[in-house]
Amino acid sequence: MAEEKITLIITRQDSPESDSYQETFKVNYRKNMNIISALMEIQKNPVNANGENRPPVTWESNCLEEVCGACSMVINGEPRQACSTLVDKLEQPITIEPMSTFPVVRDLVIDRSRMFDSLKKVKAWIPIDGTYDLGPGPRMPEKKRQWAYELSKCMTCGVCLEACPNVNSKSDFIGPAPLSQVRLFNAHPTGEMHKSDRLNALMEDGGISGCGNSQNCVQVCPKGIPLTTSIAALNRDTNLQSFKNFFGSDNNY
Protein backbone atom coordinates (compact mmCIF):
# COMPACT_ATOMS: atom_id res chain seq x y z
CA MET A 1 0.00 0.00 0.00
CA ALA A 2 1.39 3.39 -1.04
CA GLU A 3 1.87 5.71 1.87
CA GLU A 4 0.23 9.13 1.89
CA LYS A 5 2.74 11.87 1.10
CA ILE A 6 2.78 15.60 1.75
CA THR A 7 4.60 18.05 -0.50
CA LEU A 8 6.85 20.73 0.92
CA ILE A 9 8.29 23.48 -1.30
CA ILE A 10 11.15 24.96 0.68
CA THR A 11 13.11 28.11 -0.08
CA ARG A 12 16.72 27.18 0.62
CA GLN A 13 19.99 29.04 0.79
CA ASP A 14 23.37 27.35 1.25
CA SER A 15 25.20 30.23 2.90
CA PRO A 16 24.50 33.84 3.97
CA GLU A 17 25.97 35.17 0.72
CA SER A 18 24.64 32.66 -1.79
CA ASP A 19 21.40 32.94 -3.77
CA SER A 20 18.23 31.26 -2.59
CA TYR A 21 16.47 28.52 -4.52
CA GLN A 22 13.35 26.41 -4.12
CA GLU A 23 13.43 22.69 -3.57
CA THR A 24 10.50 20.29 -3.34
CA PHE A 25 10.37 17.40 -0.89
CA LYS A 26 7.75 14.72 -0.44
CA VAL A 27 7.54 13.24 3.03
CA ASN A 28 5.41 10.51 4.57
CA TYR A 29 2.28 11.82 6.21
CA ARG A 30 1.47 11.05 9.82
CA LYS A 31 -1.55 12.16 11.76
CA ASN A 32 -1.19 15.43 13.78
CA MET A 33 2.08 16.36 12.10
CA ASN A 34 3.44 19.83 12.57
CA ILE A 35 5.94 21.59 10.30
CA ILE A 36 8.85 20.66 12.58
CA SER A 37 8.03 16.95 12.36
CA ALA A 38 7.77 17.27 8.57
CA LEU A 39 11.22 18.90 8.50
CA MET A 40 12.51 16.09 10.72
CA GLU A 41 11.29 13.59 8.11
CA ILE A 42 13.45 15.38 5.53
CA GLN A 43 16.38 15.24 7.95
CA LYS A 44 15.94 11.46 8.30
CA ASN A 45 15.76 10.94 4.55
CA PRO A 46 17.12 13.98 2.70
CA VAL A 47 15.99 13.04 -0.80
CA ASN A 48 14.16 15.64 -2.85
CA ALA A 49 11.14 15.07 -5.10
CA ASN A 50 13.44 14.26 -8.04
CA GLY A 51 15.03 11.45 -6.05
CA GLU A 52 18.34 13.30 -5.56
CA ASN A 53 20.31 13.07 -2.34
CA ARG A 54 20.57 16.55 -0.86
CA PRO A 55 22.04 18.14 2.25
CA PRO A 56 19.18 18.07 4.81
CA VAL A 57 17.19 21.26 5.32
CA THR A 58 18.40 23.20 8.37
CA TRP A 59 16.11 25.12 10.70
CA GLU A 60 16.07 26.39 14.25
CA SER A 61 13.71 25.27 17.00
CA ASN A 62 13.78 24.81 20.76
CA CYS A 63 10.71 24.65 22.93
CA LEU A 64 8.21 23.13 20.45
CA GLU A 65 5.34 24.82 22.31
CA GLU A 66 5.29 28.34 20.85
CA VAL A 67 7.03 30.11 23.69
CA CYS A 68 10.66 30.46 22.53
CA GLY A 69 10.13 32.11 19.14
CA ALA A 70 13.04 30.31 17.46
CA CYS A 71 11.16 28.43 14.73
CA SER A 72 9.46 31.40 13.05
CA MET A 73 9.23 30.97 9.28
CA VAL A 74 6.88 31.96 6.49
CA ILE A 75 4.50 29.04 5.93
CA ASN A 76 2.07 29.31 3.02
CA GLY A 77 2.76 33.03 2.94
CA GLU A 78 2.11 33.60 6.62
CA PRO A 79 4.90 34.25 9.14
CA ARG A 80 4.35 31.94 12.12
CA GLN A 81 5.95 29.32 14.35
CA ALA A 82 6.65 25.99 12.66
CA CYS A 83 6.00 24.07 15.89
CA SER A 84 2.41 25.25 16.32
CA THR A 85 1.56 25.02 12.62
CA LEU A 86 -0.28 21.77 12.02
CA VAL A 87 -0.02 20.11 8.64
CA ASP A 88 -3.67 18.97 8.78
CA LYS A 89 -4.80 22.60 8.80
CA LEU A 90 -2.71 23.67 5.79
CA GLU A 91 -3.37 23.66 2.08
CA GLN A 92 -1.08 21.48 -0.04
CA PRO A 93 1.55 21.91 -1.31
CA ILE A 94 3.06 23.65 1.70
CA THR A 95 5.50 26.45 0.92
CA ILE A 96 8.10 27.26 3.56
CA GLU A 97 10.40 30.29 3.37
CA PRO A 98 12.70 31.98 5.86
CA MET A 99 11.48 35.37 7.17
CA SER A 100 12.78 37.90 4.66
CA THR A 101 13.31 40.72 7.16
CA PHE A 102 16.22 38.93 8.79
CA PRO A 103 19.55 37.79 7.34
CA VAL A 104 19.49 34.11 6.40
CA VAL A 105 22.23 31.99 7.96
CA ARG A 106 21.31 28.83 6.08
CA ASP A 107 18.02 27.48 4.66
CA LEU A 108 15.38 28.37 7.26
CA VAL A 109 17.82 29.49 9.94
CA ILE A 110 17.72 33.27 10.32
CA ASP A 111 19.72 35.68 12.45
CA ARG A 112 17.43 37.61 14.83
CA SER A 113 20.33 39.48 16.49
CA ARG A 114 18.84 42.87 15.62
CA MET A 115 15.94 42.15 17.97
CA PHE A 116 18.20 41.23 20.87
CA ASP A 117 20.36 44.29 20.18
CA SER A 118 17.19 46.40 20.25
CA LEU A 119 16.24 44.99 23.64
CA LYS A 120 19.67 46.01 24.94
CA LYS A 121 19.30 49.43 23.38
CA VAL A 122 15.98 50.14 25.11
CA LYS A 123 17.15 48.57 28.41
CA ALA A 124 14.42 45.95 28.44
CA TRP A 125 15.23 44.72 31.93
CA ILE A 126 14.71 45.77 35.55
CA PRO A 127 17.91 46.76 37.36
CA ILE A 128 17.83 45.39 40.89
CA ASP A 129 21.53 45.34 41.76
CA GLY A 130 23.14 47.95 43.97
CA THR A 131 26.29 48.34 46.03
CA TYR A 132 24.14 47.60 49.06
CA ASP A 133 20.94 45.65 49.71
CA LEU A 134 18.20 47.69 48.05
CA GLY A 135 15.49 45.85 49.96
CA PRO A 136 12.16 44.74 48.50
CA GLY A 137 10.76 46.78 45.62
CA PRO A 138 7.38 48.48 45.61
CA ARG A 139 4.38 46.18 45.34
CA MET A 140 2.51 45.71 42.12
CA PRO A 141 -1.29 45.47 42.13
CA GLU A 142 -2.44 41.99 41.10
CA LYS A 143 -4.66 43.38 38.36
CA LYS A 144 -1.74 45.26 36.87
CA ARG A 145 0.40 42.13 37.05
CA GLN A 146 -2.22 40.23 35.05
CA TRP A 147 -2.28 43.03 32.47
CA ALA A 148 1.51 43.17 32.27
CA TYR A 149 1.66 39.39 31.88
CA GLU A 150 0.07 39.73 28.43
CA LEU A 151 2.89 42.05 27.35
CA SER A 152 5.49 39.71 28.84
CA LYS A 153 4.39 36.91 26.48
CA CYS A 154 6.58 38.39 23.74
CA MET A 155 9.07 35.72 22.63
CA THR A 156 11.10 37.91 20.24
CA CYS A 157 9.94 35.64 17.41
CA GLY A 158 10.18 38.42 14.81
CA VAL A 159 6.79 37.84 13.15
CA CYS A 160 5.72 41.46 13.79
CA LEU A 161 8.93 42.77 12.21
CA GLU A 162 8.39 40.52 9.21
CA ALA A 163 4.85 41.88 8.67
CA CYS A 164 5.77 45.54 9.26
CA PRO A 165 6.13 47.52 5.99
CA ASN A 166 8.48 49.95 7.72
CA VAL A 167 10.98 47.33 8.89
CA ASN A 168 13.14 46.70 5.83
CA SER A 169 16.59 47.26 4.40
CA LYS A 170 15.81 50.90 3.52
CA SER A 171 14.76 51.85 7.06
CA ASP A 172 16.32 51.47 10.50
CA PHE A 173 12.97 51.28 12.33
CA ILE A 174 13.34 49.26 15.52
CA GLY A 175 10.01 47.42 15.00
CA PRO A 176 7.00 46.71 17.22
CA ALA A 177 8.34 44.00 19.58
CA PRO A 178 11.01 46.05 21.43
CA LEU A 179 8.62 49.01 21.64
CA SER A 180 6.08 46.92 23.50
CA GLN A 181 8.81 45.69 25.83
CA VAL A 182 9.51 49.29 26.82
CA ARG A 183 5.89 49.58 27.85
CA LEU A 184 6.16 46.37 29.88
CA PHE A 185 9.27 47.45 31.78
CA ASN A 186 8.05 51.02 32.23
CA ALA A 187 4.87 49.65 33.79
CA HIS A 188 6.79 47.70 36.42
CA PRO A 189 7.04 49.61 39.73
CA THR A 190 10.83 49.11 39.88
CA GLY A 191 11.36 49.29 36.13
CA GLU A 192 9.54 52.62 36.14
CA MET A 193 12.55 54.14 37.94
CA HIS A 194 14.39 54.02 34.59
CA LYS A 195 11.44 55.08 32.48
CA SER A 196 13.05 58.14 30.92
CA ASP A 197 16.16 56.17 29.87
CA ARG A 198 13.99 53.81 27.85
CA LEU A 199 11.85 56.60 26.38
CA ASN A 200 14.94 58.54 25.36
CA ALA A 201 16.29 55.43 23.64
CA LEU A 202 13.04 55.22 21.66
CA MET A 203 13.43 58.84 20.55
CA GLU A 204 16.74 58.17 18.86
CA ASP A 205 16.93 57.64 15.09
CA GLY A 206 15.27 54.40 14.08
CA GLY A 207 13.09 54.59 17.19
CA ILE A 208 9.36 54.88 17.68
CA SER A 209 8.85 57.61 15.07
CA GLY A 210 9.47 55.02 12.33
CA CYS A 211 6.02 53.55 12.99
CA GLY A 212 3.62 54.28 10.14
CA ASN A 213 0.48 52.77 11.74
CA SER A 214 -0.08 49.99 9.24
CA GLN A 215 -1.02 47.90 12.31
CA ASN A 216 -0.01 44.62 10.65
CA CYS A 217 1.96 43.73 13.78
CA VAL A 218 -1.05 43.40 16.05
CA GLN A 219 -2.85 41.30 13.43
CA VAL A 220 -0.04 38.77 13.04
CA CYS A 221 1.35 38.52 16.61
CA PRO A 222 1.06 34.83 17.57
CA LYS A 223 0.74 35.76 21.24
CA GLY A 224 -2.01 38.35 20.73
CA ILE A 225 0.02 41.14 22.31
CA PRO A 226 -1.69 44.56 21.97
CA LEU A 227 1.31 45.98 20.07
CA THR A 228 -0.45 48.97 18.52
CA THR A 229 -1.90 49.97 21.87
CA SER A 230 1.62 49.84 23.29
CA ILE A 231 2.94 51.97 20.44
CA ALA A 232 0.19 54.58 20.81
CA ALA A 233 0.72 54.70 24.59
CA LEU A 234 4.46 55.15 24.02
CA ASN A 235 3.78 57.87 21.46
CA ARG A 236 2.09 59.74 24.28
CA ASP A 237 4.94 59.00 26.71
CA THR A 238 7.74 59.93 24.29
CA ASN A 239 5.99 63.16 23.26
CA LEU A 240 5.71 64.13 26.92
CA GLN A 241 9.34 63.15 27.51
CA SER A 242 10.45 65.26 24.53
CA PHE A 243 8.64 68.29 25.98
CA LYS A 244 10.32 67.64 29.34
CA ASN A 245 13.70 67.37 27.62
CA PHE A 246 13.19 70.58 25.68
CA PHE A 247 11.51 72.82 28.21
CA GLY A 248 12.91 71.21 31.35
CA SER A 249 10.70 69.79 34.07
CA ASP A 250 10.48 69.60 37.83
CA ASN A 251 10.10 65.82 37.58
CA ASN A 252 12.34 64.78 34.72
CA TYR A 253 14.25 61.82 36.10
Partner: protein, 202 residues
Protein backbone atom coordinates in the same frame (compact mmCIF):
# COMPACT_ATOMS: atom_id res chain seq x y z
CA UNK B 1 22.03 65.57 12.15
CA UNK B 2 21.80 62.72 14.58
CA UNK B 3 18.61 61.88 16.43
CA UNK B 4 16.49 64.57 14.80
CA UNK B 5 14.19 62.00 13.21
CA UNK B 6 11.76 61.97 16.13
CA UNK B 7 11.39 65.75 16.06
CA UNK B 8 11.04 65.90 12.28
CA UNK B 9 8.47 63.13 12.18
CA UNK B 10 6.36 64.72 14.91
CA UNK B 11 6.63 68.10 13.21
CA UNK B 12 5.58 66.44 9.94
CA UNK B 13 2.50 64.99 11.67
CA UNK B 14 1.62 68.29 13.33
CA UNK B 15 2.08 70.43 10.19
CA UNK B 16 -0.22 68.10 8.25
CA UNK B 17 -3.09 69.16 10.49
CA UNK B 18 -2.01 72.61 11.67
CA UNK B 19 -1.72 74.61 9.48
CA UNK B 20 -1.98 72.55 6.27
CA UNK B 21 -5.20 70.71 7.14
CA UNK B 22 -6.86 73.87 8.40
CA UNK B 23 -5.76 75.72 5.27
CA UNK B 24 -7.18 72.95 3.07
CA UNK B 25 -10.60 73.13 4.72
CA UNK B 26 -10.59 76.93 4.56
CA UNK B 27 -9.54 76.84 0.88
CA UNK B 28 -12.31 74.42 -0.07
CA UNK B 29 -14.92 76.41 1.84
CA UNK B 30 -13.90 79.61 0.04
CA UNK B 31 -14.10 77.69 -3.26
CA UNK B 32 -17.61 76.65 -2.32
CA UNK B 33 -18.74 80.25 -2.82
CA UNK B 34 -18.65 79.37 -6.52
CA UNK B 35 -21.83 77.37 -5.94
CA UNK B 36 -23.67 80.67 -5.31
CA UNK B 37 -22.44 82.21 -8.56
CA UNK B 38 -19.38 83.96 -10.03
CA UNK B 39 -19.95 87.19 -8.14
CA UNK B 40 -20.13 85.45 -4.81
CA UNK B 41 -16.90 83.57 -5.56
CA UNK B 42 -15.07 86.68 -6.76
CA UNK B 43 -16.07 88.56 -3.63
CA UNK B 44 -14.74 85.77 -1.36
CA UNK B 45 -11.57 85.32 -3.44
CA UNK B 46 -10.82 89.03 -3.41
CA UNK B 47 -11.36 89.16 0.32
CA UNK B 48 -8.75 86.42 0.76
CA UNK B 49 -6.46 88.12 -1.73
CA UNK B 50 -6.62 91.40 0.14
CA UNK B 51 -5.93 89.97 3.61
CA UNK B 52 -3.28 91.96 5.47
CA UNK B 53 0.18 90.37 5.70
CA UNK B 54 -0.83 88.20 2.73
CA UNK B 55 2.69 87.23 1.66
CA UNK B 56 3.72 86.33 5.21
CA UNK B 57 0.53 84.30 5.63
CA UNK B 58 1.12 82.49 2.36
CA UNK B 59 4.74 81.79 3.24
CA UNK B 60 4.34 80.61 6.83
CA UNK B 61 0.86 79.08 6.76
CA UNK B 62 0.96 77.52 3.30
CA UNK B 63 4.22 77.27 1.36
CA UNK B 64 6.84 76.43 3.97
CA UNK B 65 4.73 73.88 5.92
CA UNK B 66 3.70 72.14 2.67
CA UNK B 67 7.28 72.14 1.43
CA UNK B 68 8.55 70.51 4.62
CA UNK B 69 5.64 68.05 4.70
CA UNK B 70 6.25 67.13 1.05
CA UNK B 71 10.01 66.64 1.30
CA UNK B 72 9.85 64.45 4.41
CA UNK B 73 6.72 62.77 3.04
CA UNK B 74 8.44 61.62 -0.13
CA UNK B 75 11.23 60.21 2.03
CA UNK B 76 8.66 58.35 4.17
CA UNK B 77 7.08 56.90 1.01
CA UNK B 78 10.51 55.80 -0.16
CA UNK B 79 11.49 53.89 3.00
CA UNK B 80 8.28 51.84 3.17
CA UNK B 81 8.10 48.40 1.60
CA UNK B 82 4.39 48.00 0.98
CA UNK B 83 2.93 44.54 1.49
CA UNK B 84 -0.84 44.80 1.06
CA UNK B 85 -0.81 41.73 -1.17
CA UNK B 86 0.38 39.51 1.64
CA UNK B 87 -1.24 41.41 4.52
CA UNK B 88 -4.55 42.75 3.21
CA UNK B 89 -5.72 44.24 6.51
CA UNK B 90 -7.78 47.43 6.48
CA UNK B 91 -5.15 49.56 8.23
CA UNK B 92 -2.41 48.26 5.96
CA UNK B 93 -4.47 49.40 2.97
CA UNK B 94 -4.90 52.80 4.59
CA UNK B 95 -1.11 52.91 5.15
CA UNK B 96 -0.59 52.13 1.45
CA UNK B 97 -3.25 54.58 0.24
CA UNK B 98 -1.83 57.32 2.48
CA UNK B 99 1.46 57.02 0.60
CA UNK B 100 -0.17 56.78 -2.83
CA UNK B 101 -2.43 59.79 -2.21
CA UNK B 102 0.54 61.69 -0.78
CA UNK B 103 2.34 61.42 -4.10
CA UNK B 104 -0.79 62.18 -6.18
CA UNK B 105 -1.52 65.17 -3.97
CA UNK B 106 2.02 66.48 -4.35
CA UNK B 107 1.81 66.28 -8.15
CA UNK B 108 -1.61 67.91 -8.07
CA UNK B 109 -0.55 70.74 -5.77
CA UNK B 110 2.54 71.56 -7.81
CA UNK B 111 0.46 71.68 -10.98
CA UNK B 112 -2.36 73.63 -9.35
CA UNK B 113 -0.04 76.23 -7.78
CA UNK B 114 1.79 76.66 -11.08
CA UNK B 115 -1.48 77.09 -12.97
CA UNK B 116 -3.07 79.55 -10.54
CA UNK B 117 -0.91 81.24 -7.90
CA UNK B 118 2.27 81.43 -9.99
CA UNK B 119 0.48 82.67 -13.11
CA UNK B 120 -1.37 85.29 -11.04
CA UNK B 121 1.94 86.29 -9.44
CA UNK B 122 3.54 86.67 -12.87
CA UNK B 123 0.67 88.85 -13.94
CA UNK B 124 -0.47 86.42 -16.64
CA UNK B 125 -3.81 85.72 -15.01
CA UNK B 126 -6.36 87.43 -12.79
CA UNK B 127 -7.72 85.72 -9.68
CA UNK B 128 -11.39 85.34 -10.49
CA UNK B 129 -14.13 82.88 -11.38
CA UNK B 130 -13.28 82.88 -15.10
CA UNK B 131 -9.72 81.62 -14.43
CA UNK B 132 -11.02 78.40 -12.90
CA UNK B 133 -13.85 78.26 -15.41
CA UNK B 134 -11.37 78.23 -18.30
CA UNK B 135 -9.09 75.67 -16.59
CA UNK B 136 -11.94 73.29 -15.78
CA UNK B 137 -13.52 73.67 -19.23
CA UNK B 138 -11.15 70.95 -20.43
CA UNK B 139 -12.61 67.56 -19.39
CA UNK B 140 -9.14 66.09 -18.82
CA UNK B 141 -8.23 68.96 -16.52
CA UNK B 142 -11.59 68.66 -14.74
CA UNK B 143 -11.02 64.99 -13.93
CA UNK B 144 -7.44 65.73 -12.92
CA UNK B 145 -8.84 68.23 -10.44
CA UNK B 146 -11.46 65.76 -9.18
CA UNK B 147 -8.78 63.12 -8.57
CA UNK B 148 -6.50 65.73 -7.03
CA UNK B 149 -9.17 66.99 -4.63
CA UNK B 150 -10.32 63.50 -3.55
CA UNK B 151 -6.71 62.40 -3.09
CA UNK B 152 -6.00 65.49 -0.98
CA UNK B 153 -9.07 65.10 1.22
CA UNK B 154 -8.35 61.40 1.73
CA UNK B 155 -4.76 62.16 2.66
CA UNK B 156 -5.99 64.80 5.09
CA UNK B 157 -8.70 62.68 6.74
CA UNK B 158 -6.57 59.55 7.05
CA UNK B 159 -3.64 61.68 8.17
CA UNK B 160 -5.87 63.08 10.88
CA UNK B 161 -6.37 59.52 12.11
CA UNK B 162 -2.61 58.87 12.26
CA UNK B 163 -2.08 62.27 13.85
CA UNK B 164 -4.33 61.16 16.73
CA UNK B 165 -2.22 58.01 17.17
CA UNK B 166 1.17 59.69 16.73
CA UNK B 167 0.33 62.25 19.38
CA UNK B 168 -0.97 59.59 21.77
CA UNK B 169 -4.53 60.94 21.76
CA UNK B 170 -6.21 57.72 20.59
CA UNK B 171 -4.43 54.85 22.34
CA UNK B 172 -6.91 52.00 22.76
CA UNK B 173 -8.31 49.91 19.88
CA UNK B 174 -11.81 51.23 20.60
CA UNK B 175 -10.79 54.87 20.53
CA UNK B 176 -8.88 54.25 17.30
CA UNK B 177 -11.95 52.59 15.79
CA UNK B 178 -14.16 55.53 16.73
CA UNK B 179 -11.52 57.82 15.21
CA UNK B 180 -11.73 55.76 12.00
CA UNK B 181 -15.46 56.51 11.73
CA UNK B 182 -15.00 60.14 12.73
CA UNK B 183 -12.29 60.71 10.12
CA UNK B 184 -14.44 58.93 7.54
CA UNK B 185 -17.13 61.54 8.17
CA UNK B 186 -14.48 64.28 7.86
CA UNK B 187 -13.40 62.74 4.54
CA UNK B 188 -16.95 62.63 3.17
CA UNK B 189 -17.80 66.15 4.34
CA UNK B 190 -14.63 67.83 3.06
CA UNK B 191 -14.77 65.90 -0.23
CA UNK B 192 -18.37 66.99 -0.73
CA UNK B 193 -17.42 70.65 -0.22
CA UNK B 194 -14.46 70.39 -2.58
CA UNK B 195 -16.16 68.46 -5.37
CA UNK B 196 -19.36 70.51 -5.30
CA UNK B 197 -17.27 73.65 -5.81
CA UNK B 198 -15.52 72.07 -8.81
CA UNK B 199 -18.88 71.31 -10.44
CA UNK B 200 -19.92 74.92 -9.93
CA UNK B 201 -17.27 76.03 -12.45
CA UNK B 202 -18.59 73.90 -15.33
Amino acid sequence: MENREFFYRRLHSLLGVVPIGLFLVQHLIINHFAVYGPESFNKAAHFMESLPFRYALELFVIFLPILFHAVLGVYIVFVAKNNVKRYGFFRNWMFFLQRITGIITLVFIVWHVWQTRVQIGLGNEELDFSLMESILASPAMFWFYVIGVVSTTFHFANGLWSFLVSWGITVTPRSQKIATYATLIVFLAVTYIGIRALFAFV
